[in-house]
């Protein structure tokens, strides 16, 4: 059964460093998303991506964040200068019809 994959599973970085989180969505899906979940808090929407451009973004998704689909399979989230409060689980999701399917997540820890 097709699934969303994410790498790395864990990332530890120093404050101010750039990180790139990678996702491979399900191959025939057209809509892609990033969400994050800070420990003990709700899952939060960050950004949606369709037709090679951002279709919607939340207030969290400021100029420090960017997304890219560099080829036909990968979907990346870049954080340019990480802050302590960026520490969270980051989930990628994709959908073809109504349902979003999620990857296993990347746990990001900013020190």
């Amino acid at each position: 059964e097709p699934e969303v994959t994410q790498t790395p599973s864990h990332q530890v970085t120093q404050m101010g460093q750039e990180v790139i989180l990678r996702c491979v969505p399900i191959s025939n899906h057209l809509y892609f998303y990033w969400y994050r979940q800070i420990l003990g808090q709700k899952v939060e929407f960050l950004v949606s991506f369709y037709n090679n451009e951002i279709s919607e973004k939340s207030e969290i998704f400021d100029d420090q964040f960017s997304v890219e689909r560099p080829d036909g399979s990968n979907f990346t989230l870049k954080i340019r200068s990480t802050k302590l409060e960026d520490s969270a689980m980051y989930f990628c999701a994709s959908r073809a019809q109504e349902t979003q399917y999620f990857g296993p997540g990347t746990r990001l820890l900013v020190l």
Binding site: Y35, M89, Y101
Partner: protein, 111 residues
């Protein structure tokens, strides 16, 4: 403001002891009410989508129902392997269908 609230936050059951989880929502133009299961350190795993009040869906020991204001996830004769966090999310009315999440119910089923 769109909001999804789940109760209880935590629930402990004995194996075989049936119960229900609640999800109340205020999401303008709701496009689907989604239930996901999340195991510790993993991504949300899709369970059900409900679209209309009165709709019901079943999968093994789980049944989800929907009214105009809330959804219930009924767990019949649960087993220890049903232990997980159950997340409810409302689908946003926009084309991007971003999900608005509840905090989840952490379910523990004791053998």
């Amino acid at each position: 403001e769109d909001q999804v609230t789940q109760s209880p936050e935590a629930l402990r059951l004995q194996e075989g002891e049936s119960s229900s989880l609640n999800c109340s929502y205020t999401v303008s133009g709701l496009r689907g009410l989604f239930w996901y299961r999340q195991d510790p350190g993993k991504g949300p795993e899709f369970l059900f989508t409900l679209y209309s009040a009165g709709e019901e869906k079943e999968k093994e020991r789980l049944k989800a129902t929907l009214t105009k204001k809330e959804s219930f996830l009924h767990i019949t004769a649960p087993k220890p392997e049903d232990s997980a966090t159950y997340l409810c999310a409302g689908g946003d009315a926009g084309n991007n269908r971003k999900l608005i999440w509840g905090l989840g119910t952490s379910l523990a089923v004791n053998p």
